[in-house]
Amino acid sequence: MSNATLGSLFVALGAAGALAGVVVVVLGLLGRRRGWWRDSAMLVGVMMAAAAGAFLVMERALITRDFTVSFVASHGSSRTPTLFNFATLWSALEGSILLWTLVLCGYVVAVVIKFRGRGDDPMMAWVMLTLFVVCSFFFLLMVGPARPFVSFDPQPFANGQPFDGPGPNPLLQNHILMAFHPPILYLGYVGFTVPFAFAMGALATGRVGEGWLLATRRWTVMAWGFLTLGVMLGAWWSYETLGWGGYWGWDPVENVSLLPWLTGTAFIHSVMVQERRGMLRVWNLSLVIATFSLTILGTFVTRSGVLESVHAFVESGIGPWFLTFFGLIVVVSLGLIAWRGDELRAPGRIDSPLSREGAFLMNNVVFAAFAFVVLLGTIFPLIVEAFDGRTLTVGSPYFERMTMPIGFVLLFLMAMAPVLPWRKASAGVLSERLIWPAWAGVGVILLSVLFGARGWAPLLAFGLGGFAGGAAMRQIILATRRQGWRGVVGRTNGGMIVHLGVVLIAVALAASNAYVRQEIFEMTPGETVEMSGHTFTFLGTEVVEFPNRVERQAAVRVDGGQVYEPAIAVYDFAGRLIGIPSVRSTLTDDVALSITELSDDGQTIFLRVTIQPLIVWLWIGGFVMAAGTLLAIVPGNRLSPTAPVSARADSASGSGTRRSKQLVP
């Protein structure tokens, strides 16, 4: 059986499994037949097998260069290096939908395994129904507008050479991060389906208390961690391959990946208010729904070509499908919230703005404002065009000006919130707990000024960064002093490590934005130029042939030491010409070299030099955030999520006694 046929069969099997799941659960719910929805788990197995089968068939087709599969003929090639050949699967629309579906099925399997003891619970029936509907959507995409397995008849070329494909977009096959960034981003995007399904289950069953939140707490944090890492790796990839010396351009595709991150971040904070105080129910449901629907909206924007983007590698007709699905999610969710309105009204109030929950509330308002600014700026050109037909661009100056104050407020809140007690804080407590973080902030400003940093905006960012970092460090030190190594695990402590990562990124962002220097030099061999205390000597060019490309490399000696070789690569098969930058990274600054023009005789180059401080700390900060997320999902030594404090402190059991000793000095 050919790969195309086999793959199509798997896709059809998956679609049938997902649709059957929807039908079985609906019938089970209508007839109150618990056995039906419990046994729908078998259909999950079918979907998983189908998605995994389809994925493996596509990889086999790519690896064996089976050009009878249309996807391989249009995106694969015999010249693509092994790693990028494997990653070709997600370099184009049909394959990336396939990867999305595989990840989604993986999450559904994990849900079934994790909650196998609760198969009879009607809540789980609604959760499974939601998951089956989402799976059906993605499988149906692969049956309809985004078919990965279409037969193709490869003919030899006119010159007698056997058929060969063009390979993936050159930009997607020249950096190793391409192998990691999309799958990790998808793990994040898709992961939010699980809390969304539980939110739907809570609304449908009317059990809108804290149960669904507690059940999905780790899932949400994990999805958020993957999304964080995915967005960071995307920025890194863009910095290393696009050659303009930047890492974030406020491009529509970048913005839509940030949107679910913003609402997701708001959610993982406000969840704690609901768990503790039973408040903000509607708000939390809305955030989960917003996060999930924004991932769908993001995919629509990335894949439909409605907005111009440097990252829009594929355009296709699946836009209307995604827009319809997005509309459906929004309408159904809002309808459910309206229907449950009365039960969602939670008793309780926040006693004082100067309290942990008050700070979380502020945090949420600020993150919502952040998301609003990013969403508005991203879709505003579409709105204006619809109204008066004018084209307009909303670019980095807008986003930078609008988000900078938001960033300052968030850093300030990050310093305050961890030291605030629940309920209410007194001035005495605050002044005692904040004094060391405040001195940390002052110390950072002093050091920055001594090292020559100038300008109010970066200095304010550094100072607030020091303040927030100091607050996080203080919490970590107190916790480890009390609990030993357990002082860095669990949600709160892991969260503080995440905060440290955020501070690193904030400082690096502020520094690199404020002190970036860029210049383009026209150079001939032997010439040396100087910029910001660095020297660059152009030594000459050479032509290097690779199986899939020809590179014209320029040798440039930096600071009289190592030679760097930015290049212009010609992927002659695809007829594409791309620049390949070369970056020297140190802990203090980055020098990025790229060629904007190269004369035919190789005697004259136009060399773009970008010098930015602290770039490397963006990536380090991202990894610290990921590590903090991991620590945050490590279970603390509690017995069960609901074990009441009083019972444990009174009980004579081993762990209870130990705990009470730790907590009551």
Binding site: A369, F380, V384, L392, W422, L446, Q475, I520, P641
Partner: protein, 204 residues
């Protein structure tokens, strides 16, 4: 309280006040020094780069003139460099470019329909802040008013319910944690039980 303890506490408060005064004076003056002194003056190359960054390349998808290697982008970069050389202002350079390549200025105009993109977030932000002020005021009033009959009824209902069900296993135990007293201590950080004691032990 003995006189010794009282004066010890007094001196602690004085010490803390001095510490905060230090934060304000040292931090404030370092900040002012760094904020007022502009450091190295902006070079022409810096101006060319920042202008090129703020104008879209007319033939590229989502790249600025600074980022793109397209011929048009190169020409515009040269044009910007010439204008900077001639001593023209940033605004007039961008205006000239926008006239030649409409719709590519990255900064939306603050007039007409496009001004909405600036105004809406400010309005929404102000609205959200006002909303926060209103709810906190209402909450404060409620706290000052004490428990209403409705609150007392709720508590009575809850107590009678727990009495009735306490002998049976709960259908869904996770729902129970709505009660703040049952929250988990590991999730609360050091502020859960008696944080001031911990802190004092920690900070000396």
């Amino acid at each position: 309280m003995t006189r010794g303890a009282g004066s010890a506490m007094g001196s602690r408060i004085t010490r803390r006040l001095l510490a905060w005064l230090g934060v304000v004076v040292v931090g404030g003056s370092a900040f002012l020094f760094g904020a007022v002194d502009e450091g190295a003056p902006r070079t022409d190359a810096d101006r060319v780069h920042s202008l090129a960054q703020n104008f879209g390349c007319p033939v590229c998808d989502g790249q600025s003139v600074a980022e793109s290697d397209a011929v048009v982008a190169r020409n515009i970069r040269q044009q910007i460099a010439r204008r900077v050389d001639e001593g023209r202002s940033d605004e007039s350079i961008i205006a000239e470019l926008e006239a030649a390549f409409p719709g590519n200025d990255y900064t939306p105009a603050a007039s007409g329909l496009s001004s909405l993109v600036w105004i809406l977030p400010v309005v929404a932000g102000a609205g959200a802040l006002a909303g926060l002020v209103v709810v906190f005021r209402r909450w404060r009033r409620e706290i000052e008013a004490g428990a209403t009959p409705a609150d007392e009824r709720l508590v009575a209902d809850f107590l009678s319910e727990t009495d009735a069900t306490s002998a049976q296993p709960r259908a869904e135990p996770t729902e129970a944690s709505a009660d703040p007293t049952q929250a988990d201590p590991t999730q609360a950080g050091p502020t859960q039980t008696d944080p001031t004691q911990v802190d004092e032990r920690g900070d000396g």
